[in-house]
Amino acid sequence: MSDMELYQGPLDVKAIFGRWLDEEAASNYGAFTPFIGTVREEGGIEALSFDIYEPVLRSWFDAWQEKARARGAKLWMAHSVGDVPVHTSSYMAAVFSPRRRVALELIEEFVEDFKANAPIWKYDVIDGRRIYAEDRSTPMEGAGVLELGKRNEE
């Protein structure tokens, strides 16, 4: 079982949580800090929907796994692809670490960088239509690398 899991539709939070716990049951970690993201009912949406570009997500995640390992910790992550109805979960991440400070710091850093740089696109689903969540989206690190073309055209 990989440490980065993608699922069609909502996550089975209890099953994934339980499996991560079992996988690390003998690893002698003292602190386990999961983060679970659930779709809120707001703005009249019936679901959120997600596109993921897996190859870049995988290298982004692997680089984070390396950072975690250098601090003695281990990361797990799961995310939904496609539609995720309100009050179900689309995102889980977790740190296992020998000590609590690293676990608390790392889960925060990981989740924040995830929001900014994981290649995942979010859509509101309203009346069965998928609308890109443009106002909540953030240009990735390195955005603007194509600006040279614009300057040359002007």
Binding site: G37, F50, D51, I52, Y53, P55, V56, S59, H79, S90, Y91, V111, F114, K115, A116, N117, A118, P119, I120, W121, K122, Y123, Y132, A133, E134, R136, S137, T138, P139, M140, E141, G142, A143, G144, V145, L146, E147, L148, G149, K150, N152, E153
Partner: protein
Amino acid sequence: MVKVEFLGPIAREPMEVEADSLAELSRVLFREESIRPWLEKCAVAVNDVMVKDPNHPLKDGDRVSILPPVCGG
């Protein structure tokens, strides 16, 4: 020829472009009406590796991904 693919919400089929650098590719893309508004907010991966140098060289067969603003979670 490099293959350019547009990810997420950019509703655009992949295209084949003659370009030997990212700078040259970006000049081509900025001429396309439907793509232009996206470009200044987009990041770029070449063969699935993120690229931050606007003069990054391209070679025949490279696969260039255009990544619009993201929002996971």
